[in-house]
């Protein structure tokens, strides 16, 4: 296995007496898309700033491609592209001129910059409006221009802070599609977002932040298992049989709760509908309704924070 792209160990940030990031640990491998979730003030943005070396850590260790962003900031910045929340551009310049400016700061020659910019603008489908002033761009176009900057710099790691915030559904879909292609091309992506469906649609793992701590790191299925004792919920309505008795032998069933005489709720680690139906029929019962749903990130997220508060 290759070395991790991002390695965070016991990272802590204090402002006076307040601890905003409290001993978090996270390892991200190449090509992963990791979602950072949590309420406002949970420490997500501060963690991002420490990853970029824009603010120093009070304690702990950060390694980006094996390098310390505080001691080797230029090397780290060369590898990392950052799209801040509500990314800002110079409105008086065109999209192309904005990118040319950052390309020069990144150290590209004019010829190389122009070639890279043309390719990046084409990939985010802004090539036809690249020479228009950014003041005329919609929010979605600005976000795509931000992604073009990452592509232009050929970043190995992309850190995206609320990339779809304030976008219409069409722009959101387009942006998510672009982010998926980034990961497909081997770029490691760290996404901070409040929009859970966004995170679920593109992320391979999620990291849940709460009050400066990282409460959970893993896949959505693992989160669902952790907070809901299983990833599937099955609602069963049947007559002439005790489903609690009939279903207990089915493999994968974690619990069965009777809602009333003819209605049961089953929690399972897999889709057990077929086995439950067979078990009910085998016991001579009549199945009247069977409905299953996998616990989503939204529900898992809510349960996680409800449990954390309790």
């Amino acid at each position: 296995m290759s070395d991790p792209v991002i390695e965070i160990t016991d990272l802590t940030k204090r402002y006076g007496a307040a601890t905003v990031v409290d001993g978090i640990n996270l390892t991200v491998e190449q090509g992963e898309v990791v979602g950072m979730l949590g309420p406002n003030g949970a420490g997500k943005t501060t963690t991002i700033l420490m990853l970029l070396g824009l603010t120093d850590a009070s304690r702990g260790k950060v390694r980006i491609l094996g390098k310390d962003p505080f001691r080797r900031p230029l090397e780290v910045k060369r590898a990392v592209g950052y799209l801040p929340d509500a990314v800002g551009f110079y409105d008086n310049l065109s999209g192309r001129e904005n990118l040319r400016y950052t390309a020069k700061l990144a150290g590209f020659s004019s010829e190389e910059a122009d070639a890279r910019i043309a390719g990046a603008l084409q990939r985010v489908r802004l090539d036809d409006v690249g020479d228009r002033r950014v003041a005329t761009y919609s929010r979605g176009m600005r976000q795509r221009l931000g992604l073009a900057e990452l592509l232009m710099r050929d970043s190995r790691i992309a850190i995206l802070d609320e990339p779809t915030s304030g976008l219409d559904p069409q722009s959101t879909t387009e942006l998510l599609e672009l982010i998926r292609t980034f990961a497909h091309d081997g770029m490691t992506v760290l996404v901070s977002s409040h929009l859970l469906d966004v995170v679920q649609s593109i992320c391979t793992r999620v990291a849940l932040f709460n009050k400066g701590r990282m409460g959970f790191v893993g896949s959505v299925a693992e989160l669902a298992k952790k907070v809901a004792d299983g990833a599937f919920h099955v609602d069963v309505e049947a007559e002439g049989v005790d489903v609690a008795d009939a279903g207990k032998a089915v493999k994968g069933v974690n619990s069965i709760v009777a809602v009333n005489d003819n209605h049961w709720q089953i929690s399972a680690s897999r889709d057990v509908r077929a086995d439950i139906a067979r078990a009910i029929v085998a016991k001579g019962g009549a199945l009247t309704a069977l409905d299953a749903h996998q616990i989503g990130l939204g529900e898992a997220y809510n349960r996680f924070f409800k449990e954390a508060q309790e």
């Binding site: 943005t45 700033l49 970029l52 824009l54 603010t55 001691r71 080797r72 900031p73 230029l74 090397e75 910045k77 060369r78 990392v80 592209g81 950052y82 801040p84 509500a86 990314v87 800002g88 551009f89 110079y90 409105d91 008086n92 400016y101 950052t102 020069k104 700061l105 990144a106 150290g107 931000g146 900057e149």
Partner: protein, 317 residues
């Protein structure tokens, strides 16, 4: 541990972008138009006055900068008053404007240090001021040749260039002040107001306050005439806290070759001297060297303040 790479890598890119932005901004066009009109007015009035009174003067060109005719002040007085406005207009939103546009975090995420951003912004502003000053200076010389019908002497040019350099340093002090306010204060309007307040205090009110302060700090003893000198020197020292005073003294020494001192003169010091005889340019520069150093020091202190605050600033936008 030694820092990786140069802290100033990217500073020229930032400076050129800043300069280009200033050159094309309506704000800069308006304020330079104001400076140009007032300067042209002052020079035209000066030429009229010179023709009537001092046609035989050896330093006619320098008189263009210093001669005033009511109600207009001289060109150098105009510069001393208006150039801080130009500098403040260029620098009051240099840093907080980036935060306001939410471009700062994106720029600082590029492979450059913060040093480059701040230094580039200062350099960009100074570059625009230098271009404007050189243009103005050349216009002055052109108008002088055209209307006086005489070419400037070598001494005129040397003193004029020294004056140009000193003016750039003077404007640099105000640019550094505006930059410091733009770093410390988040709202651009507030930082502009703060810088303008300092400008008003030092340009207008400071000369009224210093006699009062000197009277308290060094009271005059009616039985000791030397205390009068002491009070005058105290007043002068206090006045020199203002960059406008330092610049006024520099202008006086450079543009009037007959000037021999910026302090009090005793009769004993004038014995044997040829009144009105010009000093060599280097002698004049030597006399005002402390004032030039003072302006440099002011500029460096203000820039260091901005640097110190900016390096420690939390970047979230």
């Amino acid at each position: 541990m030694k820092r990786e790479g140069s802290p100033l890598k990217g500073a020229i890119t930032v400076a050129l972008k800043e300069a280009a932005d200033h050159m094309t901004s309506a704000r800069m066009h308006l304020i330079m138009l104001l400076v140009l009109l007032t300067a042209a007015g002052a020079v035209y009035a000066a030429i009229d006055q010179i023709r009537q009174t001092t046609a035989q003067d050896a330093f006619l060109f320098l008189k263009l900068f210093t001669v005033a005719r009511d109600p207009l002040p001289s060109f150098s007085s105009f510069m001393g008053f208006l150039l801080p406005l130009v500098a403040i207009a260029l620098g009051f939103d240099a840093v907080n404007g980036e935060f306001g546009r939410r471009t700062m975090s994106r720029i600082l995420a590029q492979p450059i240090y913060r040093d480059a951003v701040l230094f580039g912004k200062f350099l960009g502003g100074l570059l625009v001021i230098a271009i404007a000053l050189v243009t103005l200076w050349l216009l002055m010389v052109g108008l002088g040749i055209l209307l006086l019908g005489l070419p400037p002497s070598g001494e005129d040019v040397a003193r004029g260039l020294a004056y140009l350099a000193a003016t750039l340093v003077y404007t640099g002090v105000w640019l550094a002040l505006a930059l410091a306010f733009s770093t410390v204060i988040k709202a651009p309007a507030t930082s502009a107001l703060a810088a303008l307040s300092v400008w008003l205090i030092f340009s207008i009110f400071w000369s009224m306050v210093t006699p009062f302060l000197a009277g308290i700090l060094a009271p005059v003893d009616p039985f000791n005439p030397l205390t009068l000198i002491n009070q005058f020197e105290t007043q002068q020292a206090l006045a020199r806290i203002s960059p406008a005073t330092l610049y006024g003294e520099i202008s006086q020494m450079l543009l009037d070759p007959a000037s021999r001192t910026v302090g009090p003169v005793f009769m004993s010091q004038l014995q044997g001297a040829l009144v009105g005889a010009p000093l060599p340019t280097l002698e004049s520069i030597l006399i005002i060297w402390p004032q030039i150093s003072g302006l440099f020091a002011g500029m460096l202190i203000l820039f260091t303040l901005a640097y110190f605050v900016f390096q420690r600033q939390e970047v979230r936008a």
